[in-house]
Symmetry: C2
Subunit: 308 residues, 2 copies
């Protein structure tokens, strides 16, 4: 049976899967990435995972490799730029090196963009050719699929939706801007707001979610935080809806459990702020992604099929 | 010689041109549109202009008709929705009616989107496949070309960039939002600011441009207005640069003469607010469109060539 291998070089885990053309996951390998051991260790781990899957399922049916990695991707050159997690892979010919070691075709893509492709192929975006994905984690990433293809931008930096301005005089961001979406709606922002509101000095977004489920004053404060998150997401999504008029906007990532607390504010804000949304409310879906942290794995494996 | 006919149904003028495949304008007809005389008068005027050009240049070389019109376009159905200037053309089968009367293929497109195609084909976007156009007039329109094709959105409403939020608690807009770009950076916004700043009750953006060229207090106020315009455009452009990472962002419309006064603030704001811009400053151009009010005419004529 024909299959491709997708590899997801995540923040803490390296995962790989063999997936056939129908999107069926045949096999999966997961392990903690040896990030701290440097480039050679990570390369060996990647190659070993892929080779293991290929050997298990037969080289005859093997059709290619997709790799999702954190950072900007120069798609033509096949290397990463600006990867905070993997600095030793920046400007290194990652695609060609993996390709050489395994004697196989490799496509390298940004992890959020791979996740969007995964959702389009086998998740919440199945059958949809035009969609936007927002990944809500410690930061906020994004990806745009138009006509079934990723918008990459000319140096692979398209989709930096976490740095859209939602509050012109808002919190300063490491990117140099103020009031970026991710300064008001990421897990990091939730923790910072919890600290400012004297809920606790080291609460995670999950803690703030749990608090929001409680009655009383602390619960009220936690729910206020999720309202702020929802309104910031709503401002950004209203602009995205006005910009693209796409039928689908997906949200994914570790903040999704708090959907019940932020989504009503988010949707109310989009409805108020986007005429385009109001004019097409039944046809414009803002919804949760479906594949969780396997989206990037599906998307990576989809790349060789998609790129032909 | 092969040619297409482009027709631009503008706010006050109807113009049509015969343009060959190399982008050479062979002939042009311009006149005041009989908007107030109703649908039949406008249809007759359109058909007469096109038929005149076709007869002059020979039916043998005639390859099709493109029409740019103000409003949202249902591209599959070939009609306009939400056209403030031409309400009697809303939901009317405009494409098919023109096609029937002239026995020719017609493609209908939004006027700002046609202008973007015109700039891409023969203007400031020549040779560029990925660009964004902002049209700065009484309102602010927009269009996005990705991979050489317009992003239309699923009911033709993509590119409503004038309604991106730049100031969350800013001026209320007729679209239901607050702080839309066009409430802070359109010609209408410039006039409103001039009134608020006691520069005059009925100043046009051209008047405010002339004032800005004068020394003294009134000139200072006028220059302040252009600073506000530049900063609002800068916020929106920073988000667009972060979203698309395209190489080109064009501005067109009646406000361009004031470029010298708003552009420095606009560019400084983009530089501060967009990491993507700073990382690719030499490759990211924010520039003036080149074709003026003929862009839509070129774009309309390009449509039959483009859509094959």
């Amino acid at each position: 049976m024909d299959f491709c291998i997708g590899l997801d070089l995540g923040g803490t885990n390296l995962r790989a899967a063999a997936i056939d053309q129908s999107g069926k996951m045949l096999d999966k390998i997961a392990g903690a990435t040896k990030y701290t051991e440097g480039r050679e260790a990570v390369l060996d781990e990647m190659v070993t995972a892929i080779a293991t899957l290929r050997d298990r399922h037969g080289a005859a049916g093997f059709r290619g490799i997709g790799v999702g990695a954190p950072g900007f991707i120069r798609i033509q050159e096949g290397f990463l730029t600006n990867s905070n997690n993997l600095p030793y892979l920046e400007n290194f010919p990652l695609r060609d090196e993996i390709s050489r070691r395994l004697d196989a075709r490799v496509i390298l893509e940004n992890d959020a963009k791979a996740a969007a492709l995964g959702e389009k192929w086998m998740g919440a975006g199945r059958g949809v050719d035009d969609l936007v994905l927002l990944t809500l984690g410690t930061g906020i990433g994004g990806a745009i699929i138009s006509g079934g293809r990723l918008i990459r931008g000319y140096v692979g930096m398209a989709g930096e939706l976490g740095h859209c301005t939602v509050v012109p005089n808002g919190n300063p961001c490491g990117c140099g801007n103020q009031g970026c979406l991710e300064k008001h709606a990421s897990a990091t922002a939730v923790s910072a707001m919890a600290r400012l509101m004297h809920l606790g000095d080291a609460l995670s977004s999950k803690d703030v979610y749990e608090l929001a489920r409680q009655p009383g004053e602390a619960g009220d404060k936690a729910r206020d935080i999720w309202r702020v998150v929802g309104e910031a997401l709503g401002i950004a999504l209203a602009t995205l809806v006005n910009t693209f008029n796409f039928p689908l906007y997906l949200l994914s990532g570790g903040m999704l459990p708090a959907w019940e607390f932020f989504a009503p504010h988010m949707l109310r804000t989009v409805e108020r702020r986007s005429y385009t949304y109001r004019a097409n409310q039944t046809g414009t879906r803002i919804a949760q992604a479906a594949l969780g942290n396997e989206a990037g794995l599906y998307g990576a494996a989809y790349l060789p099929w998609l790129e032909g």
